[in-house]
Subunit: 192 residues, 2 copies
């Protein structure tokens, strides 16, 4: 979140309420939000993105208009970004994209891994969605495969998820017109 150039940026993503950092084209987040909306409208699942966690410090209450937050900071998320219900089961996942050939673990917080481990212990469906944007490929990596690589970094292993590992341990997600990241088709095969 630190931009050393001292610039001011305007946030444009009105639909998701999340930082969009200008127009990057269709991000993974946008694709997932559209997919979730499609799942919701067709009665397949109820899955939402959680709002971006913000620490609010100062709020103005101008006369006859809406409250304005004047000072606030981004907080580290303590859970994953997405959760909900599918076929009566609890579903919970995080989504990350990278332009490179591996996803650095610095993109995932220790708290999020702890949360995912707790979800798995309680019998929830849990995974990571990873997009390699240069290849235009998106994978579902089951939580246990994520934990194995994550835990391994503290025993001399890599501090990132290389493409080869994700492609081998994960499952490619098909693209469809309505469900741009049709991850539930993969969830069906793996968990039901």
């Amino acid at each position: 979140m630190k931009y050393p150039n001292g610039k001011k940026k305007r946030f444009t993503n009105q639909h998701t309420g999340s930082p969009s950092y200008g127009n990057r084209g269709m991000t993974l987040e946008n694709d997932i939000n559209q997919t979730n909306l499609y799942y919701l409208e067709t009665g397949k699942a109820v899955i939402h993105k959680k709002p971006t966690p913000v620490q609010i410090v100062t709020v103005d209450y101008p006369k006859r208009s809406a409250a304005v937050i004047r000072e606030a900071y981004f907080k580290q998320p303590s859970t994953t970004d997405y959760n909900g219900i599918y076929k009566g089961k609890y579903i919970d996942f995080e989504a990350k994209e990278t332009k490179g050939t591996s996803l650095p673990f610095s993109n995932i917080h220790e708290h999020q891994i702890q949360h995912m481990k707790a979800v798995v212990e309680h019998g929830g469906i849990c995974f990571l969605l990873v997009r390699f944007s240069a290849k235009d490929e998106t994978y579902l990596l089951p939580a246990k495969s994520l934990f194995a690589a994550w835990d391994n970094q503290f025993h001399g292993g890599r501090k990132s998820l290389p493409y080869s590992y994700v492609a081998e341990s994960g499952h490619p997600i098909p693209f469809s017109f309505h469900a741009r990241v049709d991850y539930l088709s993969v969830v069906n095969k793996l968990y039901f």
Copy 2:
């Protein structure tokens, strides 16, 4: 969210990241957050409050320090505030408190009701927690009883949940030292 006095307020609740509007003593939200933490630490359930939805407009990126949100607005929530997993099942609820003898429906948004209806259709555990703070009583009102009263307002019914209805259709929540609003003890009896 409109305070007509044009005042500026500082937000103090660092733990939950939610507006606290000064020190009101133990609010229902604080009690639920403590209870959820206890459930999490004892391995009973994984249930979290979602962050307050905020529409971010302007962000400063000062040199060598964290990004500062300089203009943002509170958004209407499209889902409930709390969800998670308990005994492998999806659980989802909203929490409201009132100082009066009824909870006005203006405290609940149409979107939230639609969300709760979708959750029930998908087989999730769903309810409203209501605290009558003057009586110091908190109830779990099952979603279906909430829907009945909500839908009835459009057919000449009351535009609020009176204490009598909540006490009759709902279930009192016991207080315990560790679980200040021990709603899972009621969930156990009703849904398992």
